[in-house]
Subunit: 272 residues, 2 copies
């Protein structure tokens, strides 16, 4: 299936130099139809007003980013994380976002298995509120290079295991090519994710062969080695026809004129 | 089992500022018993003479590093890689090394599955010479952050699959904690590796929580978040009682006095 901008969503972090109103205006003018809102983008505006601004411009809110970070060695830290996630869910509801993305967290001071148990407990604790507010939870597995302190869920298999264990229409998975492209089980696990109704979101960018920064050197689609069309084919084979969300953290792209960057994004998107 | 320096091997790259004779002298003086020799360390000396220098100092040669890099989009590139590996095997035999380590390679211009097929073909092509020279081949799975161009084998499961497919006492696996610590299947796959007689080598260092460089920011044992004692326990549960090979690439550690660094290594080793 060829892509059109009707399925293009951009994460506000991708053009983080723009305020939310600027991003909304420029995305809409470029023909982009969706926006995923990072929490920092609503600061000073508030989620309610942010939602109005977005809808007035004709954009659809795809997700609110990001919850999670459940594991802590202290019970107080875990309770605080649960409170933070509940606040995020309330904001998502005020914004009008149908889903929050969970970067699940990890602690270098305990085993990954322990962290995964705490992630499960955290999701259990916030699930009733998510249901009440009608906001879904998308577990995002992160690349193994983030296993120390960002996520103890590092493969789609682990995310699928976690999501399936809840057996809830409110708990699913966000598939991000940056984190998962290397996995030999990816095709199989995407099919599994779809078969269980758990494929909630699809994030795209690219993996640069000569990545120079572990966090902020993601590539624009086409700049790297990920076979985006192949992976999108696996995603769409499950029946997924939602937004493809462009999420790029890049010191290099942030240093350029952001109108030029947006133009590069929409051009690259059509070939992804 | 507590560790003693009798099981301590150091890769020459770890103290790359020292020449091979310097490294040998200082390792031996520190009570280190094993050395894994990187190809560059023998330049200007030759493998035969390098082996003599090492044995005269009472050190044992654990492995010669590193072969592999089999995948290429061109047949000429693949043939060249096989020639390079045959040359490396001849050098290993001259050196007196019982094993070479294979960093298997990958090409960003083709699928990882294609690269894995070419890795298999490469190993097939060099295996007769390895048998003839009595030099073993240790497949080293690399961290997924190296999947673009360094290795299409990124989990111990994949390395085990590959090694078992040869069913040869000359093809096994090198388990390096840096590459594998994050994997939820690690305990199971180490047991599997051992059960098939394929656990040829065990490499240690640490994963720093705030890693700042994808290649050269490995931690000294204890500096990071890897539970080294737990993983060594899994390794030893298979019956492995060979060398624990210290392999650290670190701009930070290379910038310090290398005698101080060696002292830090032997101290940290005993707690690993």
């Amino acid at each position: 299936m060829s892509l059109s901008l009707d399925r293009c969503c951009i994460h506000t972090i991708t053009t983080k130099l723009w305020s939310l109103p600027e991003a909304v205006e420029h995305y809409a003018a470029a023909g982009v139809k969706g926006i995923s809102v990072w929490q920092n983008a609503t600061e000073g505006i508030g989620p309610l007003r942010s939602g109005e601004i977005i809808r007035q411009a004709g954009l659809e809110i795809v997700s609110y980013v990001r919850g999670g970070f459940f594991p802590h060695t202290s019970g107080a830290g875990r309770a605080q994380a649960i409170d933070n996630n509940k606040k995020l869910l309330e904001e998502a509801a005020a914004l009008g976002a149908p889903m929050i993305v969970l970067v699940c967290g990890a602690s270098p001071d305990q085993s990954m298995q322990k962290s995964r148990e705490q992630i499960r407990e955290g999701i259990e604790a916030i699930l009733p509120l998510a249901e009440k507010l009608n906001v879904k939870l998308a577990i995002e597995p992160l690349h193994p290079m983030y296993a120390a302190d960002r996520s103890a869920i590092n493969t789609l298999a682990q995310a699928n295991d976690m999501a399936e264990s809840f057996n809830s229409p409110f708990v699913g998975v966000a598939v991000d090519v940056y984190h998962l492209w290397w996995d030999g089980d990816l095709e199989k696990e995407i099919a599994r994710c779809g078969a269980h109704g758990n494929l909630f979101a699809y994030h795209i960018c690219d993996w640069k062969v000569n990545t120079i920064d572990l966090l902020n050197d993601r590539g624009l689609m086409g700049e790297g080695c990920i076979d985006l069309k192949k992976i999108r084919g696996w995603v769409e084979a499950t029946g997924f026809n939602g937004f493809c969300e462009v999420e790029i953290f890049s010191n290099i792209h942030w240093a350029k004129d952001q109108h030029l960057f947006l133009n590069e994004i929409t051009t690259a998107f059509l070939e992804s």
